[in-house]
């Protein structure tokens, strides 16, 4: 009977989480009947005294806007929808809390339509989950330690004031100017009310949900457990329990031991203790866990623990068979999609400018007949711009991401082929369909074979090199001659292979490739790569 109740409880939790996640993703309609889009747009004043500037986030519990008060104070306004009672009770508990690692809550307000709003501190930084997404191998250890300490202090402060956060996860942890800020108090509740009978809703996020939540225990240890998961994720880049469905993940939380093989040996006892299935075996408080982390000191241990690991216990597990672990040494800077788009626009515009200058320079050297001046300039300018754009656009989305080099090459092969066809067309290439003549053309040099040669030349030139590396933000040098020489070399090799590009100046096509290699480097944003690392370590994107 008890087992059946437990299973039913588990299924209910899974279904509720699934629904919340779907609402968050905008897959299903909300209670108001509309699809999950921001209800208010820029400039509206649903709440007296504040002007909304833009929507900045959505969650299962509401929407968050960036707004400015009439006095000029920048704030975040959270429109609470759905579980208002839970949310408001939690916010009320936290309104007067003050901690440098907590997002400040200023006020709770009700608008003219009866909707509840929470006025909060506006954080311009990125959430931790976005930063973790850029570090598939985990954060640098020192950074993970520093940020985790901020998180632990904030949670410990909440616990000291009788608050359990209950939704500790990377998406609720923000980083602004290097400072960790823990936000989203929507699910907070006083510890005293965490009895099973008092629960009307299951809360939390499935990957960070402690096992005892399924039995209705919502005490401080659930935050310790979630913090342990975050520490695990920060160190390894992955959550310890993952699966196809919420139920599977929950079941793993309940039964499966975490794989601690990738955890550095000095962190192993801490993570192991924090992830204990039994809440009594975890740290008694976040402050204790923070002290344990602090005790590790600033000297990072580069030796990860051996696999497989025994079920988590408080006892220290000795490190075995040291194995080098690839890891970045500093956090990659935050570049949002919006920023990427801005950069891309800038790079593409700059590439046109640089190509124009290069074309003028080349025609000045070449000194063609005055009648052919513009024509010759165009023969360099247009294919180079097309080639630059063809590299910049996909590379912008490949930057700082690990991916299959061959797939990227294949994609570039197709793109290069299109550039080749464009170049052939620009060079006056004539498709058989274009010809309206009734007489047979004896041996037109610009017919299909030449088109195929153009296609092949550019396709293979794009395929031959890893062009996306020239645009990588953290490339070794801002500008290097090696890729230009490489482009020239491949241009010449291909010219020999696909020799008779009729009507085209072979040198011109090599020049187009070399100019492309030059310009994409010049216009792509560059940042100083991370500091040199130990010999056994290697930068993931190098």
């Amino acid at each position: 009977m008890a087992l059946r109740e437990f299973e039913a409880s588990l299924a209910e939790i899974a279904a509720r989480i699934r629904r919340r996640e779907r609402i968050r993703d905008g897959d299903i309609a909300t209670e108001q009947g509309g699809c999950m889009k921001f209800i208010y747009s820029s400039g509206q004043r649903p709440l007296e005294g504040f002007t909304l500037k833009r929507g900045i986030g959505r969650g299962g519990f509401g929407e968050v806007y960036f707004a400015v008060s009439d006095g000029g104070k920048e704030v975040a306004l959270k429109l609470v929808r759905g579980d208002t009672q839970i949310e408001m009770r939690g916010v009320a508990q936290c309104l007067n809390l003050k901690h440098p690692n907590l997002v400040n809550l200023y006020d709770m307000r009700t608008d003219g339509q009866g909707d509840r709003w929470v006025v909060m501190e506006y954080i311009a930084g990125e959430p931790l989950n976005v930063i973790l997404g850029r570090h598939p191998g985990g954060l640098p250890r020192e950074l993970a330690r520093e940020w985790f300490l901020g998180l632990a202090r904030a949670i410990a402060y909440l616990h000291d004031h009788g608050i359990v956060h209950r939704d500790v996860k990377p998406a609720n942890i923000f980083l602004e100017n290097g400072t960790v800020k823990v936000g989203d108090y929507g699910l907070s509740k006083a510890i005293g009310s965490s009895q099973r009978t008092a629960q009307t809703h299951s809360v939390g996020t499935v990957h960070y949900m402690a096992p005892e939540i399924s039995t209705g225990n919502y005490g401080k240890p659930i935050d310790v457990y979630a913090a342990g998961i975050i520490l695990y994720e920060a160190l390894t880049g992955k959550v310890p329990f993952d699966g196809e469905s919420c139920g599977e993940i929950l079941m793993k939380h309940l039964t499966a031991p975490p794989d601690l093989s990738k955890i550095p040996s000095d962190y192993l006892p801490i993570v192991s203790k924090a992830l204990s299935k039994n809440p009594a075996q975890r740290y008694a408080s976040m402050a204790e866990m923070a002290r344990a982390i602090e005790a590790l000191g600033s000297e990072p241990s580069r030796v990860p623990a051996a696999a497989p690991t025994p079920p988590p216990r408080a006892a220290a597990v000795p490190a075995r068979s040291p194995r080098p672990q690839e890891q970045v040494l500093v956090a990659l800077p935050a570049v949002s999609r919006r920023a990427q788009l801005m950069e891309l626009c800038g790079s593409m515009l700059m590439s046109v400018l640089f190509t124009g200058l290069g074309s003028i320079l080349w025609t000045a050297i070449l000194q063609p007949k005055p009648d052919d001046l513009r024509l010759e300039m165009g023969r360099i300018f247009f294919p180079t711009v097309a080639a630059c754009w063809a590299i910049l656009i996909p590379s912008k989305f490949w930057t700082e991401r690990r991916g299959d080099s061959w797939l990227r090459r294949f994609a570039l092969l197709l793109i290069g082929g299109l550039v080749g066809v464009g170049g052939w067309w620009m060079d006056g290439g004539l498709l058989p369909l274009d010809g309206t003549g009734s007489l047979p053309v004896p041996h037109g040099p610009m017919q299909g074979a030449a088109g195929m040669s153009y296609f092949s030349y550019f396709a293979l030139a794009f395929f031959a090199m890893r062009w996306w590396r020239m645009t990588a933000r953290h490339r070794a040098h801002r500008f290097s001659f090696a890729p230009i020489l490489g482009a020239g070399f491949w241009g010449l090799v291909l010219m020999l292979l696909i020799r008779p590009l009729s009507g085209a100046n072979p040198g011109l096509l090599v020049l187009v490739l070399a100019m492309t290699a030059t310009i994409v480097q010049l216009v792509s944003p560059w940042e100083q790569p991370p500091a040199p690392c130990a010999k056994r370590l290697r930068l993931r994107y190098a």
Partner: protein, 186 residues
């Protein structure tokens, strides 16, 4: 086989295909130089001999544009300069009023292999000019679009949404103006 192996094979096939498709491999034998490639006769009519000749040349130009399939219409001077045409002696012919007496000139057009290649080159140049002009317009449009989008995003970011509406209106206005300008020019 792994994906990478397939991709390598595909690239090899592409190289092989391009080699076999290259004009060097597909080159046909060069025709005999003396024999004209195209031979056509035109008859021009006019009040004077000069007008009749011009009429014949115009017909030849039209014929070349329509039948050579290069989309290029040569000028009369080009045919004369290249010595592609030969005029016969003019004849007088009586027509019904109001034409009455007219000069009739027969003209022979011979296009040799070399002349054809020159025509081809001229046609290609003309096509290149037209296409470059088209591309320039398209590029200008794209650059404008990028400038407007990039500018909007940067300004919107810099002003943190304080002037979002104004910026959107300005961006749309600028784009409409550019589009209108391109339509007028194009």
């Amino acid at each position: 086989m792994r994906v990478s192996t397939w991709l390598r094979l595909a690239s090899l096939c592409l190289i092989a295909g391009s080699l076999s498709a290259s004009p060097l491999a597909a080159r046909s034998p060069v025709p005999e130089p003396k024999k004209p490639l195209y031979h056509e006769e035109f008859t021009g009519y006019g009040a004077t001999e000069l007008a009749a000749r011009e009429d014949a040349l115009r017909l030849a130009c039209d014929w070349m544009q329509q039948n050579l399939g290069l989309g290029w219409c040569p000028k009369s001077d080009y045919l004369l300069d290249q010595k592609m045409v030969q005029f016969r002696d003019p004849e007088d012919k009586q027509f019904e009023p109001p034409l009455n007496n007219m000069k009739v000139v027969k003209m022979q057009l011979d296009i040799t292999d070399n002349q054809y290649f020159d025509i081809h080159k001229q046609a290609q140049h003309q096509r290149m000019q037209e296409r470059q002009k088209t591309s320039l317009l398209v590029l200008f449009g794209l650059v404008s679009l990028l400038g407007v989008v990039g500018g909007y995003l940067r300004l919107e970011e810099a002003t943190k949404g304080y002037f979002t509406r104004l910026l959107r209106i300005a961006a749309i206005g600028v784009l409409v103006l550019i589009l209108a300008g391109l339509c007028v020019v194009g």
